[in-house]
């Protein structure tokens, strides 16, 4: 039986993207802003999922590298008045380079030691953001101008429609990249090492190098998200780059199903919207998230997406 040229799942994803591209015509500014925000959360979730889900490393690098993207990419972009594409490239590069360095330093640490080191790194970065005032704007943070698009000849994008479409494009690009990455030999190595480092090593996987590359690539994705997000909100404050954000990102990846990129995207969007809607009710969002997480852990072992995919064969992501 011939394999269709375009798989069913690609059609579904393509369809969703089409819908996402058309729908905004009727939406108000607030909804567009919310959408751009949750699209960014989805990118962060994919970055974290690469490390936590695909390689099984307890490296909570999401907020730290998201912050590096903002404080290097968006900062340089706003100070030097760079077009958006360049600011984003700076963010990706910063994430990659720091990821390589940090990954090299910490990838020999195991499990819980790795987790506390990555969390400590996040706190130290926040300290730097708050206190290196001349570089980072200190506690007051810094503002970011409307993005200019090089590909459109330096056109300045103001207004939520533009931000929405740029955000959507970045999300789709990240998803495509991650999907491609998932089919490479490198990713296969990651999945094996997640299962068992000894087995991976015996199969010829350079475990240490794999881990470092994972952190570097995730750093690049997170750097991209971090460089982009300030253009959505217009400003950067050090307080956004701390532990509460880490908990949220972690929740998203677990609920989506560790290792599932689609699950991460869906969970990020769903939980991001819920978080926004519950913002006014004190304490309720935390209780709700806790209950959801507990339910996922106790009943939906593979996360919401994973459980659905187990029952609906077409939804399954290719795991080689």
């Amino acid at each position: 039986m011939r394999r269709p040229a375009i798989s069913r799942s690609t059609l579904v994803v393509g369809g969703l993207v089409l819908v996402a591209a058309i729908v905004p015509q009727g939406l108000n500014d607030y909804t567009l802003f919310l959408a751009a925000t949750v699209f960014t959360y989805a990118m962060i979730a994919m970055g974290l999922n690469l490390v936590l889900g695909w390689t099984g490393q307890f490296a909570f690098i999401d907020v730290a590298f998201f912050g590096i993207g903002s404080y290097v990419g968006a900062r340089i972009g706003s100070v030097l008045e760079l077009p958006l594409e360049l600011a984003l490239l700076v963010g990706i590069a910063a994430g990659l380079v720091v990821g390589l360095g940090f990954g090299a330093l910490v990838s020999r640490l195991r499990r819980y030691y790795l987790s506390i080191v990555t969390i400590a790194f996040m706190f130290v970065l926040v300290y730097v953001y708050e206190n290196a005032t001349s570089l980072t704007g200190g506690l007051a943070g810094f503002t970011v101008p409307d993005p200019q698009l090089l590909v459109l000849g330096g056109l300045e994008i103001s207004g939520e429609y533009g931000l929405y479409y740029i955000g959507l494009t970045l999300l789709v690009a990240t998803y495509a990249f991650v999907t491609w990455l998932g089919r490479t030999q490198l990713a296969r190595g990651w999945r094996t090492l997640r299962m068992s480092e000894d087995v991976a090593a015996s199969l010829g996987v350079d475990v240490y190098r794999s881990k470092v590359i994972a952190i570097a690539v995730a750093g690049g994705i997170l750097g991209l998200a971090g460089a982009w997000f300030p253009y959505v909100t217009g400003s950067v404050f050090p307080s956004s780059y701390g532990f509460p954000q880490l908990l949220f990102d972690f929740l998203v990846v677990v609920v989506g199903g560790l290792g599932s990129m689609r699950g991460a995207v869906i969970a990020a969007i769903a939980l991001g919207v819920v978080n926004e809607k519950l913002r006014g009710l004190i304490g309720v969002s935390e209780i709700a998230f806790g209950v959801v997480l507990l339910a996922c852990v106790m009943f939906l072992r593979r996360g919401v997406y994973g459980e659905l995919a187990a029952r609906v064969p077409e939804m399954r992501e290719k795991v080689i």
């Binding site: 910490v106 400590a120 532990f243 677990v254 304490g283 935390e286 806790g290 507990l294 852990v297």
Partner: protein, 288 residues
């Protein structure tokens, strides 16, 4: 000279709080191999219950403290029974996630009833002991003394009692314990309870300094975790030394450099130590 003494004492007192947290984490880790991220909430509940009892209801402090610790002990046991027993056969990660979930829930509940920061009067009162030129808070001395009592108590428990032998057995092999007829579930429940009780004690002692708020547990948890890692995962003396070091790093850096640096000093310390000595100070090569 008096500055050094004051800084050292307050560092040791703060360190004792972190050490209590680290001990609570270690005892649950040693017996169940799960890292109890809920430890911060035990501290939070200790502080909240103390606040409600002493400030809102005006009850005698010692009575409130004892009841609070007991209640959190019971809560720890209950959570172990309701949440962890069903997950005993589940992958490790699920159990850790479950502790996270409980963190969310408890924080949310506390935030709903007590959203703002509140002050808690110190158990030892505001009296101050003079040592030459230095003024030392009685509360700090109490905290350090209580840690010492707990530490000695644990050492005794582990090496001289039947329960201690059971604990050491359970860290060796759960299956072995089950086969020997030890009721592992009840053991775990008690250990979760003890971990919680230590956290609650830490919360009552640290309440005046940390202030009672929904976020109260986050830093002590993370720094307690750092202390445990610093000392080497699973090591009781390591947990104590790690906690004291983190506390001292906080006050010494805070005093001699800047208070802002003091807040991250513990994290900087853990970064430095783990990069140079991946197994922590007292850990063994294979522990992680």
């Amino acid at each position: 000279m008096s500055d050094a003494v004051q800084t050292a004492v307050s560092g040791l007192a703060l360190g004792s709080v972190y050490a209590l947290m680290a001990l609570g984490l270690t005892i649950v880790y040693r017996s169940t191999t799960v890292v109890n991220f809920m430890q911060g909430q035990s501290l939070l509940l200790g502080g909240v219950l103390a606040f409600v009892g002493v400030v809102s209801w005006g009850l005698p402090y010692l009575f409130v403290a004892a009841v609070a610790i007991f209640l959190v002990f019971c809560l720890g046991m209950a959570i172990s029974k309701v949440v962890f027993e069903p997950l005993l056969k589940a992958p490790h990660l699920s159990q850790v996630f479950a502790t996270f979930a409980i963190v969310f829930i408890i924080t949310g509940i506390v935030r709903y009833f007590l959203p703002d920061e509140r002050g808690l009067p110190p158990l030892a009162g505001t009296s101050v002991i003079r040592l030459g030129d230095a003024s030392i808070r009685a509360q700090d001395v109490l905290t350090i003394v209580l840690l010492a009592v707990v530490a000695v108590g644990f050492a005794y428990l582990f090496h001289r009692t039947h329960l201690g032998r059971l604990l050491r057995a359970s860290t060796e092999s759960i299956r072995g314990c089950e086969m020997s007829g030890i009721n592992v579930r009840r053991l775990f429940a008690v250990m979760w309870g003890v971990g919680g009780a230590l956290g609650a004690l830490a919360g009552i002692l640290a309440g005046p300094v940390l202030l009672v708020s929904p976020e109260m547990g986050t830093q002590p948890l993370l720094l307690g975790f750092a202390a445990m890692t610093l000392g080497g995962f699973g090591s009781f003396p390591g947990a104590i030394v790690g906690g004291l070091l983190v506390g001292l790093a906080h006050t010494v850096t805070g005093f001699y450099v800047s208070s802002r640096l003091g807040e991250v000093a513990g994290f900087i310390l853990i970064l430095l130590v783990l990069l140079l000595r991946p197994q922590g100070l007292f850990g063994t090569e294979d522990v992680a």
